[in-house]
Symmetry: C3
Subunit: 132 residues, 3 copies
């Protein structure tokens, strides 16, 4: 089962919690056990899993990335968005989550984030489920 | 097949080699070919694959992370463990390993690590196998 | 289906575009839908997905990694290649790509890279496909 979600980002750098939307896809698929991939088909966006309860955690992650990979520097790529490509490569374009009892088997504090690094833009997020 | 392993960490930051325990799960599952996921259901821990032979390699990885993401800084999250969340996001909460001939298809020098960034704690590690 | 590709790297640090070779494996497997893993069985190499159109993007990613993880430093591992182990751990040893209509379901600008961090060497790259 493959499903494509549309994501509209509103800032240059932004982590959007997509856990509820992924959960809905898993429930509609009626798969009891398996593995679910969340894949960003972009080179300046990524997928991450981290704390969803306190929004200051994602702000601290973003702030660290912004400091470690500064917006201006000795970059060769003429579009000027090399820092976004570097951040996307570090976090990675996809994450896997296990499915148990027809639901995402996440830890208590885990949320799934679509990570925008070169927004605002209209983006896609692909959800793929394998049963087993 | 899904199996939950218990991990007890003994330091704040620590990489624990879990290769033998994952291999045992794969052998008990009697799966000849497939893919195995190792998933940490935590927001301040991760899973990594790297050299297991010389323990100085994992110390060098840990030391780099500790320098790049210092314990004290301009963090907003009040629990004080933002550096652990950032490290966990960078390494990622899961790794996939291919299964061939009923065993993990790792390279000669590869070991699988549970990466603790906010210990000591009692942790879980979820192992999921898809046959195919 | 599991297939092992041989890769010959020519520099110490180098990103080699392997998208065409992975696509050929997927086509030969005649799998219509599923998931494909690209796994590097090495501790000083990794797999990444990022822009393939403009080679300056991969040069900017490599330059950032070389600056963030310098070649010389206070490393304990006596082989002297700890920076390569650290880079490989950050990017990760594998990537998953979704298969749709018998082909890799990548974004318009995405290419798959074998990332060499301690070359030149002869390397392996394992491709595993699960149908579903």
């Amino acid at each position: 089962m493959t499903k494509v979600l549309n994501i509209t980002t509103r800032s240059r750098v932004e982590f959007i919690d997509v856990t509820d939307r992924i959960e809905q896809v898993v429930k509609e698929a009626k798969v009891k056990t398996g593995v679910c991939w969340i894949f960003a088909p972009h080179t300046t966006a990524a997928v991450a899993i981290n704390e969803g309860a306190d929004p200051s955690v994602r702000r601290d992650i973003i702030n660290w990335l912004e400091e470690a990979i500064p917006r201006t520097g000795n970059y060769q790529h003429l579009e000027g968005n090399s820092p976004a490509h570097i951040k996307a490569s570090l976090l990675g374009s996809s994450r896997a989550v296990i499915i148990e009892n027809g639901d995402l088997h996440l830890g208590t504090w885990q949320s799934i984030y679509f990570c925008e690094f070169d927004g605002p833009r209209r983006r896609k997020l692909i959800v793929k489920i394998l049963e087993g």
